[in-house]
């Protein structure tokens, strides 16, 4: 494994599989325990450096680090020196001087974690950078698929929605390709980036044509600010053409699952009865996120074998 996790492209098949396997070991080790805590990262410091609001990702990383017994510092941009104009570099050097072993970074600018990684000795984990990537989301999605379907190789995945602005989509396309899955991107042409034809994925503008063949349907959140920028004529038209409702869900094969990285716009890209159906993995994704982030922190920081860590 590399020192940092900046992009899903940093992971080859062996790395990715190791993370998923480690997450599974952690789940097994903790299953049924009253005290859900491992001593693995005792004495290590993990900083959650969040320049963008994201309660779910931050608490997931926070809990993951705490369950591994690391010391956790939450550094939110609001109300800190950052809002007083401190640069990313100075923030990085400050955290470095405090001895951060890992920095979990969420930032609205694509590539910010890459910059950070040049300035610090510790590991940098990309927790979402602009419209670039969100590698741990892709890992938890892959983990969820593997647990539900029992495999990743050859699985047919449809990723539906605002691919253009989605870091979740970018990381998933890369990681799922590494893991041998077949991805189809479904979106209106306005929400696909120029250059998407070079991605290891099929492209479709027609959700109804893709659904019957998909084993996984991953719905992307449509951000509020896209709705008034002529990417599509209206919320209703988007929903009619690209929303997953009960009628469309009925066209899916029996064992197919529905995923969403959250937070959802119920009634927009996903209907309530779909989100709450047995196909939906949305709540599982949250708990799987915890296991996968524990695995990532452990593998980047632990450096110890799984048995030493008391996981096995």
């Amino acid at each position: 494994m590399r020192r940092h996790l900046l992009s899903a492209a940093d992971l080859d098949l062996a790395d990715a599989t190791l993370i998923l396997d480690t997450a599974e070991l952690i789940d097994t080790a903790l299953a049924g325990r009253e005290v859900k805590k491992l001593p693995t990262l005792r004495g290590r410091t993990v900083v959650n450096l969040f320049f963008e609001d994201s309660t779910r990702t931050r608490i997931s990383f926070e809990l993951a680090a705490k369950r591994l017994s690391a010391d956790v510092i939450n550094f939110a941009a609001k109300g800190s020196s950052v809002s007083k104009g401190e640069s990313l570099k100075d923030t990085a050097l400050t955290l470095e001087a405090m001895g951060a072993d890992a920095i979990v970074c969420r930032h609205s600018a694509s590539g910010a974690p890459h910059r950070l990684a040049e300035w610090v000795q510790g590991s940098v984990i990309n927790a979402g950078d602009g419209t670039h990537e969100h590698p741990t989301q892709a890992l938890l999605d892959a983990y969820t698929i593997r647990r539900r379907l029992g495999r990743l190789d050859g699985v047919r995945v449809a990723i539906v929605g605002d691919v253009l602005h989605s870091r979740v989509a970018r990381s998933n396309v890369v990681l799922l390709d590494t893991l041998g899955a077949h991805v189809t991107l479904v979106a209106p042409p306005t929400l696909l980036p120029v250059g998407v034809e070079s991605w290891p994925a099929e492209i479709s503008y027609d959700l109804d044509a893709v659904l019957p063949k998909a084993e996984v349907v991953m719905m992307l959140r449509v951000q509020q600010e896209r709705m008034n920028a002529s990417y599509f004529p209206s919320v209703r038209e988007y929903s009619r053409r690209y929303g997953l409702d009960a009628r469309r869900m009925a066209a899916m094969s029996d064992e197919a699952i529905v995923m969403h990285p959250g937070p959802m716009n119920r009634g927009m890209e996903i209907a309530a009865e779909v989100a709450d159906s047995v196909r939906s993995t949305i709540v599982e994704q949250v708990s799987n996120g915890l296991s996968v982030r524990m695995a990532v922190l452990y593998l980047l920081l632990g450096g110890a074998s799984t048995s030493e860590a008391g996981v096995a």
Binding site: S87, G111, H132, R170, P193
Partner: protein
């Protein structure tokens, strides 16, 4: 002028047959073999190539306003070290060079520095605001004698205003230098739109945003019979539009930067804002088309778009960084790498694109003249065989944002003469 005479021995003008050049009283007083000149200082230039002093149509000197990034003096020094004897200073200073007062100040600062002739560019619109014409005539009539007008950094996007500007400057034979960028197509744009922007998740700056404005402006220039100059061409399509316009006899000229002749959007992969520039670095196919356009003369000039920025404006997140890169000191070397080493241009061709044509576009009569007796002694001497590794800390600019750090480049400027006076000798600035 009371300066000492200089006898330059065995130099090869344009890389051709070696001659001696005698510089006296600001002009080339004599050219020939085994010249003798009593009291003249002697410079043995065996192996060196002489070119007319380079002329830059596009420099940001940052003064007034951002003297922490560059001043007229430091920028002039970088220019002289790069082989330049004249530079055009862009108008996007603070305050903007949109009045006779500001252009005259910049012109005087240039004269005081005494390293290159600084020709201020006047803003087309008040405050670069794109709504009201600046007092172009007053700037033209000032001691700075402004002939090139540009809102560079911002496009004159309003077609009616662009038309008026093109028409108005005919009264004093001015030229509008357009920064071609359709603003609605480049909102929040961060890099060339293509395969890499899709992967890197950076908002795209599509080629069409440049080409659409160029096509429009070429048609406007033809309609009103005015001269148009297009700044920093960056796309293959732009070259094609300009080639067509020139074939149709439309009076349009254009420039390309050194970095667009050498670097591609692949440089952006690590998100280092040293490679953030506007227009953005494009693809290898664009680079090839720009080189070909420059070689065949569709593109008239290499212009640096030298854009110094303070460290904190580059040591940050990509999206927060200011666009632009240093250019003056390495422009010749980059042009040699892109055009001479590839056999696309010879030294005479390079002199045409880096001195003769830019001087003509900017109407600087003392510059871009042939290296012959009686002409102004504005020239630069180049060691074509030297190779230099670029070290940012050693650059003359106040800023350090060169995209060529640690890169080895060919050719080195050994000496530069401005009206017979050495501004650079043995690769060192003389003041």
């Amino acid at each position: 002028m009371t300066s000492a005479a200089w006898l330059i021995r065995r130099v090869r003008p344009y890389g051709e047959q070696a001659v001696d050049l005698l510089l006296r009283d600001g002009v080339i007083a004599d050219a020939g073999h085994d010249l003798k000149a009593v009291g003249a200082q002697i410079l043995d230039a065996g192996g060196l190539i002489a070119l007319p002093g380079l002329v830059d149509l596009h420099t940001h000197l940052r003064e007034p306003g951002r003297e922490d990034a560059e001043t007229v003096e430091t920028g002039s020094r970088a220019a002289a070290l790069g082989g330049y004897t004249a530079v055009h200073a862009m108008a996007n200073t603070d305050p903007v060079a949109d009045t006779a007062g500001v252009v005259e100040q910049v012109w005087r600062l240039g004269r005081d520095a005494g390293l290159v002739d600084v020709a201020p560019v006047g803003a087309v619109t008040v405050g670069l605001g794109g709504t009201r014409l600046a007092e172009l005539g007053a700037m033209a009539d000032s001691p700075a004698r402004v002939r090139v007008f540009s809102d560079d950094g911002v496009c004159v996007a309003d077609p009616a205003l662009m038309r008026r500007a093109l028409e108005y400057v005919k009264a004093f034979d001015g030229v509008i230098a357009q920064h071609a960028e359709e603003p609605r197509l480049t909102q929040n744009a961060q890099m060339h739109e293509g395969v890499l922007s899709a992967r890197l998740g950076l908002a795209g700056w599509p080629s069409v945003a440049e080409e659409a404005i160029i096509a429009r402006d070429v048609l406007l220039a033809a309609h009103v019979g005015s001269r148009l100059h297009v700044c920093h061409l960056s796309t293959r399509g732009s070259v094609a539009i300009l080639a067509r316009a020139k074939a149709d006899g439309i009076p349009v000229t254009c420039e390309v930067t050194p970095h667009h002749l050498l670097l591609t959007d692949e440089c952006v992969t690590g998100y280092d804002p040293l490679f953030k520039v506007n227009p953005p670095l494009r693809t290898a196919e664009d680079v090839d088309a720009l080189r070909a356009g420059l070689a065949e003369g569709t593109i008239d000039a290499v212009a640096t778009d030298h854009a110094p920025h303070a460290m904190e404006d580059k040591e940050c997140e990509w999206a927060m960084a200011r666009p632009g890169m240093l250019g003056l000191q390495q422009a010749l070397s980059v042009a040699v790498e892109a055009m001479i080493c590839t056999g696309l241009l010879d030294w005479r061709g390079l002199a045409d694109r880096m001195s003769i044509r830019p001087a003509r576009i900017g109407q600087l009569d003392d510059h871009g003249q042939p290296l012959e007796t009686g002409r102004p002694a504005n020239l630069t001497l180049i060691d074509p065989d030297a190779r230099t590794v670029v070290t940012p800390a050693e650059l003359a600019s106040r800023a350090r944002n060169t995209p060529y750090a640690r890169r080895e480049l060919p050719a080195r400027v050994v000496a530069t003469f401005l009206r017979g006076i050495p501004t650079v000798l043995d690769g060192k600035a003389q003041r």
